[in-house]
Symmetry: C2
Subunit: 340 residues, 2 copies
Amino acid sequence: MPVGTQGTVKAVPQAVLEDLGAQIILGNTYHLYLRPGHDLIARVGGLHQFISWPRAMLTDSGGFQVFSLSKLRKLTEEGVRFRSHLDGSSHLFSPEHSIDVQVALGADIGMAFDECTEYPATEERAAESLKYTMLWAARSRKHFRENQHKVPWHGNILEPDGTPASQSLFGIVQGGMYPHLRRESAERLVEMNFDGYAIGGLSVGEPREFTRQIIAEVLPLLPADKPRYVMGVGFPDEIVEYAKMGVDMMDCVIPTRAARHGLLFTSEGRMNIKNRQFAEDSNPPDPNCTCPTCGRYSRAYLRHLMQTGEPLGGTLNSIHNLAFYLTTMANLRAELDSIS
Amino acid sequence: MPVGTQGTVKAVPQAVLEDLGAQIILGNTYHLYLRPGHDLIARVGGLHQFISWPRAMLTDSGGFQVFSLSKLRKLTEEGVRFRSHLDGSSHLFSPEHSIDVQVALGADIGMAFDECTEYPATEERAAESLKYTMLWAARSRKHFRENQHKVPWHGNILEPDGTPASQSLFGIVQGGMYPHLRRESAERLVEMNFDGYAIGGLSVGEPREFTRQIIAEVLPLLPADKPRYVMGVGFPDEIVEYAKMGVDMMDCVIPTRAARHGLLFTSEGRMNIKNRQFAEDSNPPDPNCTCPTCGRYSRAYLRHLMQTGEPLGGTLNSIHNLAFYLTTMANLRAELDSIS
């Protein structure tokens, strides 16, 4: 899932995302809550309508950005009081408020409000953090069930059986790098019966071997007939590995953020397009890629755009990296389909 | 002509420019000389190849940017010594060097090296400045005729009659706001027999009435069977007015620069899309426009993109403004064709 933090996958027009085959994109609840505000988005019909994205969308709970971006956080059982990274204004995110915001945004999938446990964390700290995440998961689910009919498009979209379509809500497994905490978290979430399950608190600086172990530990505990989502991963080889392990969904800013810094993922490996060696290289970035960037532009031109700070550089690089990620996953889906 | 200063019409992919109907774009000799360098561009086949733009291109002489951007300029009859605005390095632009650079870039149309007389300027100063421009026009033309076969694509592109295609060179009329200097400049340039003629030194801060007077004064002196180009204009109503006076070509950064600052040109007038009044406005920017931006996005979304500094804002706004300019001109051409 390409990440569209503020209601835009940075520097890439929606029509291009559609052409690249993106089926679902993310929006960040924290950012959209601050600007332009969830009430405004609800009044104009919800996030799909606001950003003109008719395909699927997922909003995170806001928890991760509250912890990573905001200032002066104060955590209580009620929720997190924090100051905006934009203007210092004071806000409270609780499970109930996160759900209210996500219902107003109206993405197809919302996430339970959680605390993303930092790495490294002692077992005591991870257990304490998990305690909040589990309490908040139950409150998120309850508040969601009571308020999901308030989604801006309620009644406008019907399921095949004629009932009104509604949002889905996923629970998030936490527990740091402690397998027994992760197991406890997964089992209790499954008892709560969410529409899907995410594994959070990974890709927070831990060695990749830990990431793999936690995924391997948790996945079998989550129902295979519901989506299983690992949050915030990863590099191309990682997402292939996790998909093969049984992960259904992943999101990451890497393809677009790396692109804006000139790092391209190609069938021949990683390429820093700013390197001097590409100054007169007339080859496409990736000779095996059929994306609009590789079909038209040379490495020399992309390097020039980066050297001169031209905005088209970020756009063309992002288009290629997203194409590489989406093609990698499309190929893998075909491969897994042919096996099963 | 949309302006592609550094080999890119800022924030707009080439395929979009083609879809919008752009027939010709500009490149700036001063910028491309400094980065990535004209020799590099020649080695990769010329500017068309380098930026992947198969349609027409025009390069300016570099003179305007030398005067407006560079530091510590020293003007002599030979040319202008200046320091780069990027790194302070010392360079000399003479008519011969400007032509060498423009031949290496290989745009379809190059411009004689001129001095863009500032506004206001005394008659004495304008006459002195014009003296250089006229000397340099003759030297530009001579050097161009002797070196035009060095264009990177020489021999690769043939005219319908089988002879090798070559670049065109336009002369530039200067003379400040003094009609008799302008007439002298135009008459002497026509004697030199250029492939087309530009009126430079306008849009430099003078009242619009002066711009109109100078164009009216000079146009009849320029052959109607060759392109007549007014440099650096203008707002939509200006370019319509000048085209009706007989001007064939114009270039301006206004549509793209204004777009990046949130100023849209629409069939209903100018619109600062950042204004609070558009925060929840679900209408397209211009209800009478069929461009990709107006066809998909709301004013509220474009405002949000500007408020959050998202790069997609500059791209979508630029696409609309270019569409507005290009459609305005296309409609005017059809109107003028139907009259004549």
